[in-house]
Amino acid sequence: MDKAKIAKQFIKAIPHSRALGMELTDIGEGFARIEMPYAAQLVGDPETGVIHGGAVSALMDTCCGAAAMSHPSSPAGTATIDLRIDYMRPATPGQTIATEAQCYHITRSVAFVRATATDDDKDNPVATATGAFTVER
């Protein structure tokens, strides 16, 4: 099965990620990239139209999990042990939020992952995340 097909099916299999409109645009070798288009139902501050942090954290969690699973030394599924998210600035309303995650170290039992989320302004991250994930055997 080719990479694009795997990517499509990955999100399709996760109801919550699908509900948030996520699209996996790249995956492999411990790296993943997922986009989440702007949606009115995900707004956290009705006055400004800024997306809620909870939706951003779900995006981060999904992307980090995908990166962990795609690592060559990760044989099967994964679960989040912990995840820390830093919110640098509000995402600009109307813009897609894209997250890139890298599994930078993996042991027999734990995958360590870092991620960055940006909107159209790629030089100023919206949020960053670091997390530890289980390596299922």
Binding site: A13, I14, P15, H16, S17, R18, A19, L20, A40, Q41, L42, V43, G44, D45, P46, E47, I51, H52, G53, G54, A55, S57, A58, L59, M60, D61, T62, G65, G77, A79, T80, I81, D82, L83, R84, I85, D86, Y87, P90
Partner: protein
């Protein structure tokens, strides 16, 4: 000073519940998630009723880690926002009826949020309570615990730091 008879309990309750409801239902993401709040005095319990769209692993099945963290962040922000609002209403600085009419106070902004996943989130309702450990003029630190059937068996905990809305004074 002449003794002022307290208002009937139902009037007070109705006003507080209406203020809380206005605060919660003004946020589209909270409605999207289906999160509700139960109030007993100033204590809030956030409720995440089970929904198929909250699933992250359909094979187990288990709740999505992102749904859990979103739920806990909502519990923290509303818990913190409510504690500030409660004090202002009690001191008479803010009229609860104004809140109900749509004059919503700005909610705190999340600086960072760390979540520990202790157990698999089962496909059933989840509950969370936030404890404001420190609430200053600019920053606040909040701890959240979430559980499902058994209050003593928490399945996730989180700590977050928040930027308090600017006060115009």
């Amino acid at each position: 000073m002449a003794y002022k008879r307290p208002e009937p309990v139902q009037v007070i309750k109705q006003r507080r519940d209406a203020a809380l409801s206005a605060l919660v239902h003004g946020v589209p993401y909270i409605t999207f998630m289906g999160i509700e709040f139960d109030r007993r005095g100033d204590e809030l319990t956030a409720i995440l009723p089970y929904d198929d769209k909250l699933i992250g692993n359909p094979l187990l099945p288990a709740l999505h880690g992102g749904a859990i963290s979103g739920f806990m962040e909502v519990a923290a922000v509303i818990g913190l926002g409510w504690s500030v609002l409660w004090d202002e209403i009690e001191r008479g600085e803010l009229d609860a009826d104004e809140v109900v009419r749509g004059h919503l106070p700005r909610l705190p902004k999340t600086i960072d949020f760390t979540i520990d996943y202790l157990r698999t989130g089962l496909p059933r309702d989840a509950y969370a309570r936030a404890k404001v450990n420190r609430s200053g003029r600019r920053y606040a630190s909040v701890h959240v615990e979430a559980w499902q059937d058994n209050r003593a068996r928490i399945f996730a905990q989180g700590t977050g730091h928040f930027l308090m809305p600017r006060r115009d004074d």
